[in-house]
Amino acid sequence: MSNLGIGTDEWVAQHEERLASQSPLKKLFARIPLWAKWGSFFLIAFLFGMLSDNQYLLRVGVNLALFIMLSYGLNIVVGYAGILDLGYVAFYGFGAYGYALLSSEQLGQHWPTYVTVPFITILTAILGYLISLPSRRLFGDYLAIVTLFFGQVFVQLVLASDNITFPWADDYVDITAGSNGIPGLDTFNLFGYIFDDIKDYYWLLMVIVLVLTVAIHRVSATRIGRAWRTVREDALVSEVMGVSVKRVKTLAFVAGATIAGFAGTIFAGMQTSVFINGFDLPLMVMIYAAIILGGSGSLAGALIGAIIMTILPELLRVPNYGAILFFVALLLTFFVLSKKFSRFLIYVVSIILIGFAFQLAMKAIGVTQANAEDWVVGFTGDLLKNWLFVPENRILWGNFAFILLLSLIAFFSIAKPIWKHVLLPFIGFTAIFLWEVRLIADVSTTRQLIIGAMLVVLMILRPQGLFGQTRVEIL
């Protein structure tokens, strides 16, 4: 970098170096053809579908496929076209509620599936088009706020539409059942074939995801996909170069909405019930997390992101898996941060010593210890119960530990290198304490914390996401 001659540019100067410096694993990965990488994913999915009869796992598979559809769709809108759409999940909800209303006793409608699904999907596309009209003049933050508003309007409308009075009727009309949700939906019935097994949905979704993968891959590599990316890069120049920016943006928005709406109908049919809180901001956040994690603007990234965001919460549901994940992550973090194995060992020994010191100190000031049966959840608790001192008032201590941990990490991030070495073992101990005392039992909080922590770590180590391209904004 330093001794560049005149007339050469950085990239050329680094070209050979960059090629040579790739790790062998990376080289190997680069040599596998694209179709083989994708193919192996679908092959695994296919074999799993053939071999497994585990209802729970199949359901996870179905949820994964739906999540992949959502992240594919959002990736078109946000990743390719750069439209920050925070109301995206409303299209999913619209599809699901649309299907629900036409396939249940709620309105007494039982339309055939092969009519309902295309009809609702097209309706979602039209809705997407209408919402894109005011949105397409807006950029960035403004657009985000307007779409967030549309998303919330959808939620409020569904909540409020259980009690509508028309001037000509005496009684109120209940359209959406409000917060009660709509149960008892018809499952899919395609020309007499009834989807009464979760596996039916599994196969249907696998085909859909396969088709979508091929289609989106093709589109993104050709004319429309390129136009989307030029709009993301610099909409003004894009327009000056002959791209109909408004039309192209609308197309991305509608394509995303259509995929979400379609996914919504399948979700409703599979679930045979819909509740509005399933289509609110938490899901939105998860989809965004998936595409950011995978690398915004990358199709493979959207897939990997969806896999992580679906599998991880499932794993964390089981305390032992969660514990393995936690301790592996903790050790890995320490390993990476210590850079040398000897230092890593010193950290581990320090953490162990801190644990004993903590035990002595607590006993010295007379804090009562909790019974092991009260707090040991997973096997790690079993292993650690003679080392880790858990006070009786666990919740309170857990909260303290949480605040202490955050403070330590904050302090760590600005501390001088020498202090970092001192701080790290304390951070490690506090994290273990917090995990065993509170997090392992409190699954839902833990999930969010871990996902949040993962995103933070990833954004520091690899801001472009796992599969994203390095990006520059301004030079």
Partner: protein, 259 residues
């Protein structure tokens, strides 16, 4: 070919262009010169539809450009580069050029998604065209550079890429905003040659803004000098370069007094 008549452009009280008329004949190369803030870039912005002038008209052939969107103006046959080089930085070199064929191609969402034959054929044509255009600049933007992101290019190469991108829209008229800015003498000489060959090989009509007088002298059939949005001189290079108003505009009032 391109006829600008009586264009005025105001930003609030400031008159940036004042009753300006310029006409370009087919295959003519005209330079616009003038001190900083004279309104040269503003003129380009008016022609390409980014600014709406207060009054006047812009005609390409017999077609009125005012009132069309920038994309429509581009498709009518006017392409440009930007003074501050605006590439699609996170797209590859080849994609930058290919993306500019949007207005000349047809593949839609579905024909691409289905991989229809005509879509694949069009894609191959577009790719070949882009590679062809990049070869215009010798070997600098060819080969393994095709797949590099635009942000990895050197400054001079970015300027070249921007010209290639403009050419990909199949323009009749090309507007170049300071193509030699920030280039060394050798690269500047090369730009002069390239501008000449753009006309010779592709039959383009070119309007070029340039501060470097060697370039202006080297390429122009005619030179237009602007100051405060007013045309102060027009004619061949020698005429304009020695015109007292031009000298005054560049050097200030004092210098004419000592002349």
């Amino acid at each position: 070919m391109l006829k600008l008549s009586n264009i005025s452009m105001e930003f609030g009280a400031l008159k940036t262009l004042n009753d300006l008329s310029i006409e370009l004949k087919e295959k003519e190369i005209v330079s616009v010169i003038g001190p900083n803030g004279a309104g040269k870039t503003t003129l380009f912005n008016v022609i390409t539809g980014l600014y709406k002038p207060t009054s006047g008209s812009v005609k390409l052939g017999s077609q009125e450009m005012l009132g069309l969107s920038p994309a429509e103006i581009n498709r009518a046959g006017i392409a440009r580069t930007f003074q501050n080089v605006r590439l699609f930085l996170n797209m590859s070199v080849l994609e930058n050029v290919m993306s500019a064929t949007f207005g000349r191609t047809r593949s839609g969402l579905f024909s691409s998604a289905l991989g229809l034959k005509r879509s694949r054929k069009e894609e191959a044509e577009v790719k070949e065209k882009a590679q062809e255009l990049l070869k215009f600049f010798g070997t600098r933007l060819t080969g393994y550079r095709w797949d590099q992101p635009a942000f990895s290019l050197s400054y001079a190469n970015r300027r070249r890429l921007e010209i290639a991108r403009a050419l990909a829209t199949d323009p009749k008229v090309l507007l170049l905003d300071e193509p030699a800015a920030g280039m060394n003498p050798k690269e500047t000489q090369e730009i002069t040659e390239i501008v000449g060959s753009l006309r010779a090989e592709r039959g383009l009509t070119i309007l070029i803004i340039e501060h470097d007088m060697h370039v202006v002298e080297g390429v122009s059939d005619r030179v237009v000098a602007l100051d405060y949005g007013v045309k102060i001189a027009e004619g061949d290079f020698d005429h304009v370069a020695t015109h007292p108003d031009v000298v005054e505009a560049y050097l200030g009032k004092g210098s004419t007094a000592t002349k």
